[in-house]
Amino acid sequence: MTQPLRISHVGLRGVVGRGLTAAHVMDFAAAFGTFLADPGPVLIGRDPRASGEMLREGVIASLLACGRDVVDLGVVSTPVIQHAIARGTRRAAGGISIGASHNTAEWNALRFFGPGGTYLSTAEASELLDIYHLRKFSYVPWNEIGKLSYQADAIDRYLDELNIVFNFDAMRNVRVIVDCASGTSSIILKRLNERYSLRMLLINEHVEGMRFAHEPSTSKRVVALQLAPLVVPVGAEAGFLFDLDADRVAMATETGDAVSEEMMLALLADDLLARGPGKLVITNLSTTALLEEIAHRHGGKVERVPVGRQAATDALALHAADEIAIAGEGTGAVMMPQFRFVYDGIAAMFAILRMMRERRRKLSKLVAAYPKYEICKGEVPLVSQKIPALFLELRRRYAGGTQNTSDGLRVDWPRTKERGERWFHVRVSQTEPVIRVYCEERGAQPQALFEELLDLVKQYAG
């Protein structure tokens, strides 16, 4: 069973009331106020979950008590917060996003950003965690307590930045349907429609704190169920679906077909490698091998890192910004260099629309132009004591392939006469007590291998 609380390098996350309490929130925010080196203000924002107000009040109190000025951006997407940190007239020390992204309504979380709106590196996150556990917070005396202010134009300033890259005036005729899943994308896209006279058709646009229109996941399954059937009837050229804080996005074609979540990064990698100058794609071990094929065409390279935002953040830090074309994962979370390497679903949506316009292709044709990779994804509940034995057995049994053990086990096999390239990845989730199993093959569904892996994993787990 999923534990209702997880405190880790990624931050604080839990089921409100059952795991995540006001005390956790206040201590973690105080730890962050203690941790920050820069003297500047801390920017905060939240997604529309009802518990968000409780978390916001606790975060504000702890930051003020640590002598931090706080700027509350209100209900905004995580990328809006990150851009505002980087852009502010007064140099911000960092920011906190209150929201649990693709998790269901009863969850909430705190995510932390450093100056520039960047995710914390592993080393920084470790330090933050140490301060949290030590509970030695640098509360200031009464006359040095921070001041709270509100900033209402963060979304407009964010749209200004997007407009420089995408030129919204040229998008007036674009006809898309967007499923906001009751989340913050609704606020941003309504404003966009109004300000630039765009005609995006929004559904599930009522921002909601308790009953989301549907599970806020960007998986192909949710797109097929919620969005794809509507695209043809409304005559849209594409459909997009966001998670609650709009850092992830998924899509459906004009023919009403849900597109695999793996394709968001693949399409944009193709687009951005062609634009240059960056030639490097950073992604995790669980993401489609189509990326290698696309990178190869452009003379580029794929760097594979362990799953999770942390490994991607650390990898980004090892390269100059202009070496990198794009970073992201197969979940629909994509970071682009033009947008300061922030996971940003809205920027990704416009990048896809720009690609369609420039290549004069319908979305279904764009997607169909790539070789078909079939991916299977599964998960098995975990008994943590048996994990080492499971991996030993996997390594022994699949000794024939190329093995990568940086995050669980990934095994790759080259193309043969009978079948295309294939790989599998078995790893332990960082956020839930499950083992995840991924398996992909070029040209065909690797069903037999997938089931074999699931059977084996089940012998050791649950």
Binding site: V15, V16, G17, R18, T21, A22, A23, V25, M26, D27, A30, R49, A50, S51, E53, M54, L55, E57, G58, I60, A61, S62, L64, A65, A105, E106, W107, N108, F137, Y139, V140, P141, W142, N143, I145, G146, K147, L148, G209, M210
Partner: protein, 462 residues
Amino acid sequence: MPDESRAADAKHVRQHPLKIGVSGIRGVVGEFLTPALTAAFAQAFGTYVGAGRVIVGRDTRSSGDMLQHAVHCGLLAAGCEVIDVGILPTPTIQIFTGSSGARGGLAITASHNPMEYNALKLFGPHGLFFNHYERAELLDIYHESAFKHASNDEMHSVRSDRETPVRTHVERVLKLVDVEAIRARKFRVALDGVNGAGSELSVHFLRDVLGCELHAISVDPMKPFPREAEPKPEVLGDLSALVRDHHCDVGFAQDPDGDRLAVADETGFVIDNDEVLALAVDASLARKTGPVVVNLTTSAVIDDVAARHGAQVHRTPVGEANVVEIMTAVGAVIGGEGSNGGIIHPGVQLCRDSYTGMALLLDRMQASGKRMSELAGGLPKYHRRYGKVGFQHGRLGTVMQTLEKAFPEAQIDRQDGLKLMLEDGWIHVRSSNTEPILRYAAEAKTAARADDLLAAASKLLR
């Protein structure tokens, strides 16, 4: 110094930087009174009063905003709905708690304590202080950390209402007096608002509502306290000067949360607090007679004034909650505590209220046509002396017996320590609830006799 709360004056006595007890929490903000502790206490409060509406306001201390967010966090976490009334006097918050049908209320104020302190005052469903048993129950919840943790579905919001509380308070006070007659007199009034929570309301009340020509100092809630927070004669030099410079009819001074009142006559002389209470009692009984309730250390002048109106006086242990409890029980028409400038009128709210005091005194001047010095001069004259001595555990009983034997002719009251009532005066000895000391006071018709009684007590207690 008979008053319990004078103990908070750090210059006089040792004070602990944090105190959690049946009166709530109070401490030096920062290292001791932390936002996490405040939120936990608020969550205990929310758990105790139940998921419903809770009124939250504060005084002008610079730590108030930070602590208010912490209080909001704790209350929301307990499933309460928060009504934020912002910076308002404590009596205004109590009145609104009672009139709005809320489950309870919290005032973030350390009253007359120095700037570095802050505290929570806690009110039950009718805007009254909890009784001793209720406070003990609340404290148990806090210590057990047996908090209600609301889930996302049970979460409420913070709403703000800054108008209704002020309107309600003013309306209630105006019912006690002849407003038109006061307005017609166009009194010239000096005010020292100590830059406290009443700053704005006091200006509005005296100038706009009661039609006074107002000369006000220290009525900027954004500025720090310009003088010691407790309005005692030795710190009210500026008020006296203001009265003289502008030839005012009367001068008023408040404490930071607007429950205490000090009064200067038209010569700038600051009138003794017991006499101010006596004038308020007189003014109130002149309109409607009935039982009067004051604490044991309050001057006998109250008995004389009550006798003029054929009213009975009830005496209680020191402490606002004690006075209020007996006022309810006997159906008092007016009450208070002499030494601390607290005037309590049940027609407004069973709490100390400086606005009630101001209105009653102006009304008395209007009705009698007398100057403030004449009104005070018309009271029977008593002389009071105060002392304190270190408390020795185990010796208290012996000390009290010695004292009792020394005055065999005295009538005795043992409700709060020992009060010896003599033919021509009284002695009251009690142990402080907040510090390890014995406080003693004496009163007599002549200064010499008051000195003698105090000296006798002092000698026996040492």
